[in-house]
Amino acid sequence: MDTLDILEAESVHVLREVAAQFKRPVLLFSGGKDSLVLLRLSEKAFRPGKFPYPVLHIDTGHNFEETLSFRDQTIERLSEQMIVRRVEDSIQAGRAQDETGPYPSRNRQQSVTLLDAIREFGFDAAIGGARRDEEKARAKERFFSYRNAQGGWEPHQQRPELWNLYNGRIHLGEQMRVFPLNNWTEFDVWSYIKRERLEIPSLYFSHQRTCVRRADGSWLPMSKHVTPPPGDLVETRTVRFRTVGDMTCTSPVFSQASSLDEIIEEIRTAEFSERGSRADDQRSETAMEDRKREGYF
């Protein structure tokens, strides 16, 4: 077994434990590369049967148009069940509030919609594509990560997790977040996408795009959600996206990489980390931990 085989076997084992230990699991799907890998691993784990869980997409309203159409095609090709819940509806219902200013983000608001959806359907486990190598708070995650009845993470008192014996026992109202890709690196994900010939949104490949440079020097794609103040530079550049989140928090990277091999080479020699391009992580030093405590995945 090579390293990808070992990672695949570990993840498939985890997915099958979810299927066996929970009554109503769900798979969180963003349309990004990591959740696409999760779908392929679900096929490996459960075909020729159906997935033992539906796929849930939290539509922030700030998604790239392309991610949404890609999402719909992918789920249709797999003939699996998809649930979509919208941050817009949470805002209309007064459950969440939009940010104001020139660059509003809905990153934080999506935790409200996610927790509401979990309650609405009674999900007891939510599978996510987060990886330990992405971010310092995620580096602390278990495979089965316990969440209290409010959906919050208590990082200072996590359950021990030994070998591959996963403890999925929870009380009514509590939930588990499950991270089958914990041990995958960004490099592993791209190597697997190549090996499995996975289709991915073209946002990941080099293209021309109108972008805006903000006063702090960071870049965002231009979109209808932002209103750059005078002084912020709007320019067309050759870019790609290294992670795909919302248009309002995902910075493009300047890149000529237009094939999987070029992307893999670019990552191998990268001087900056993957989530260095995520504005949602840069808001404070503990931005990810804070959001995870609130129920973000």
Partner: protein
């Protein structure tokens, strides 16, 4: 390229997190934005030098207190090898998180503060790592810079460790080396200040120590069923991860729990039909003659059966902060099966100074107590003793009341059944 999963362990403040920061920095694997973040945080702490420990201490509480609370996992690769690193906490009260890390690795770097020698917590870590079956261990005597790189002190510490470890040294591949993690001495490069030392650098050791190799064909086949996947009509495939041995189409296997012999008709791995699979692979199988299986059933090679009993002699490490009475009700998880269980007796605890088991009168369990006793199960457990087959004899006890993962257990010996 192969992959080594290793951990750092040792007493609090002996330099575990600093060592990992140093290893990444010297390999050029701390990326620009990560380094900026660490430098900014170091300044916020009022430090003039970059605090490398901040590279792995990712939680707010960890940065505030300057300690590691839970395991941080870090990933990097060189031309020769991929590494998964578990940076474990040193504090006594977080021993359970160290145990979590130790259960996942092939090798361990145990840091010892050379200015002080082995602390009790260092002994606890070293013993638990060995107990969990990690065979490749290096004792890195750190902070040699504070001792003017003295060979004399190093030799004293070396003797102290070798004398202490003797009772458990059989089968261990352990070595000792001097380092100074803060300065980078003997991490990637040999240090001119340690010219009396002619052994490996830590980086060399990490590259040369044997990586995970899944148990080969010589071990008996064990497959614990995870679940079923429906196929065409009303037939089913069964899923599981092959724990040991090999499995070939046509093999006859014994169902340990109900004494049936079943025959494997088809095997799939990674979505592909295949003729043979080996330990470590996550597979599906179909059975001849419409035989059925359910979750938790253990398939075994008929010539090499498991032991079966509702009473097992066990060794354990308790992992809850509160103290549990001996009659605490647990769910015992062994492979994919779960069985109600409780302790019949707790006979002995480990003396970390002498590494001898001593009789105990304690009838309670509390973290991080290490003991020996008898576990009694509601229905018989079919298992192999820990150490007899790679991966065998591992168990966790989940407390029934609050579902805490409460005790780490190694099954040592099947005892005669009680008369029911």
């Amino acid at each position: 390229m192969d992959q080594l999963r290793f951990m750092t362990a040792g007493h609090v403040d002996d330099g575990k997190s600093t060592l990992i920061g140093r290893l990444f920095l010297d390999h050029g694997k701390i990326l620009k934005d990560q380094l900026q973040t660490i430098e900014r945080a170091s300044r916020n702490q009022g430090k003039s030098e970059t605090n490398l420990a901040l590279f792995t201490d990712g939680l707010k509480a960890e940065r505030e207190k300057g300690i590691t609370i839970d395991v941080a996992y870090r990933y990097f690769s060189t031309q020769q090898r991929k590494f998964i690193i578990a940076d474990a906490p040193g504090h006594y009260e977080y021993t359970r998180n160290m145990v979590t890390a130790a259960s996942q690795v092939d090798a361990a770097v145990i840091l010892v503060d050379a200015t002080r020698g082995m602390a009790e917590q260092t002994r606890r870590h070293a013993w638990l790592i060995h107990w969990l079956g990690v065979r490749n261990i290096v004792f890195a005597l750190n902070k040699m810079d504070l001792l003017d790189y003295s060979e004399k002190v190093f030799r004293e510490r070396e003797k102290e460790i070798i004398d202490w470890i003797k009772p458990i040294a059989h089968g261990l591949d352990f070595t000792l080396m001097p380092i100074a993690a803060l300065k980078g001495d003997n991490i990637l490069r040999p240090s001119p200040d340690l010219n009396w030392y002619t052994g490996k650098t830590l980086d060399q050791w990490l590259h040369e120590t044997p990586a995970r190799s899944f148990p080969a064909a010589k071990y008996p086949t064990r497959l614990s069923i995870q679940g079923a996947v429906s196929t065409i009509g009303d037939s089913e495939n069964y899923t599981g991860t092959l724990a040991s041995g090999v499995l070939t189409i046509g093999d006859e296997l014994h169902v340990a729990q109900d004494d049936r012999i079943i025959q494997v008709q088809g095997i799939w791995k990674s979505g592909q039909k295949t003729d043979q699979v080996q330990a470590g692979e996550a597979i599906q199988i179909s059975l001849s003659n419409g035989e059925k299986l359910s979750r938790g059933q253990l398939l075994e090679e008929p010539e090499y059966p498991t032991k079966k009993s509702n009473r097992w002699l066990v060794e354990f490490c308790a992992m809850t902060d509160d103290s549990m009475p001996m009659d605490t009700a647990f769910f015992a998880r062994h492979f994919t099966s779960e069985t109600p269980a409780s302790f019949e007796c707790i006979d002995e605890t480990l003396d970390l100074r002498t590494l001898q088991w001593a009789p105990t009168e304690h009838a309670t369990l509390t973290s991080p107590q290490i003991g020996r006793g008898v576990l009694s199960f509601a229905s018989p457990i079919t298992a192999d003793a820990f150490g007899s087959i790679p991966g065998a004899g591992r168990m966790i006890l989940i407390r029934e009341s609050d579902h805490a993962t409460a005790v780490a257990v190694l099954l040592k010996e099947a005892l005669p059944d009680t008369i029911s």
